[in-house]
Symmetry: C2
Subunit: 151 residues, 2 copies
Amino acid sequence: MFTPRPIGHARTPYKQTSKIPKGLGVKHDAEGVLEILPEFEPGLLDIESLSHLYVLWFFDRSEGFDLVGQPPCDDRPHGVFATRSPRRPNPIALTVVELLSRDGNKLRVRGLDMLDGTPILDIKPYLSNVPEEKLRRGWLAEAEARKENQE
Amino acid sequence: MFTPRPIGHARTPYKQTSKIPKGLGVKHDAEGVLEILPEFEPGLLDIESLSHLYVLWFFDRSEGFDLVGQPPCDDRPHGVFATRSPRRPNPIALTVVELLSRDGNKLRVRGLDMLDGTPILDIKPYLSNVPEEKLRRGWLAEAEARKENQE
């Protein structure tokens, strides 16, 4: 297919996986920097006009995959393609971040949930939402409801 | 890093790139099927409970990359990371689709914008929107405004 290469690295407050907030209703508001390799800096032209970005990155500290697994936010197993588990056939992650500012090849962003030093594969513009009334969160909404009933 | 592998292929109405709707305000409502390889079918457990999915796929008919280019919807150049150009350092694409139904390893979806036969890399749950009042579409909104002024 193709040979993935890093376009840069994430500078985040997280040195260990255990420090990254996980679970139901978690808010990712950690700030940090996407440091793009100097050779790719021209590719950032006009990016500062956008408020939100998709960041595709490499789960570089994950090995192998499980097709079915129990996420930290539920007591039931789900298929890997219905979860954000790092143990995937292609270890690619996706995070939506808010772009706060740009300084040359450095993008200051909010909403990071990856480890410090994580290789970045791609950045894309976030341009539109799914209509809120059409969005169903399925098993995750059910897990939340069960948890509320227990509390 | 890692060696990408297809988890399945997209069955879409598009046999040629020129037939895929492009440009400002375009709506992607093409229906088709994400046909997951039988060995990965267990990874779809509970996916039918979700209304929308992220599909990561391989721009398999694109070669090389341009850091700056002029998208079909504007008369000005922009950085590749501010656009959805297929000519990217890592030729990975991202599409949000609505899940209509599941039949075993086949997901019927709406919102496809890739060629028939395109290799799929990953599927993830679409779980939340960016708050609408915080979303800025930057250069794209400016291009739309210029176009409206011309009409």
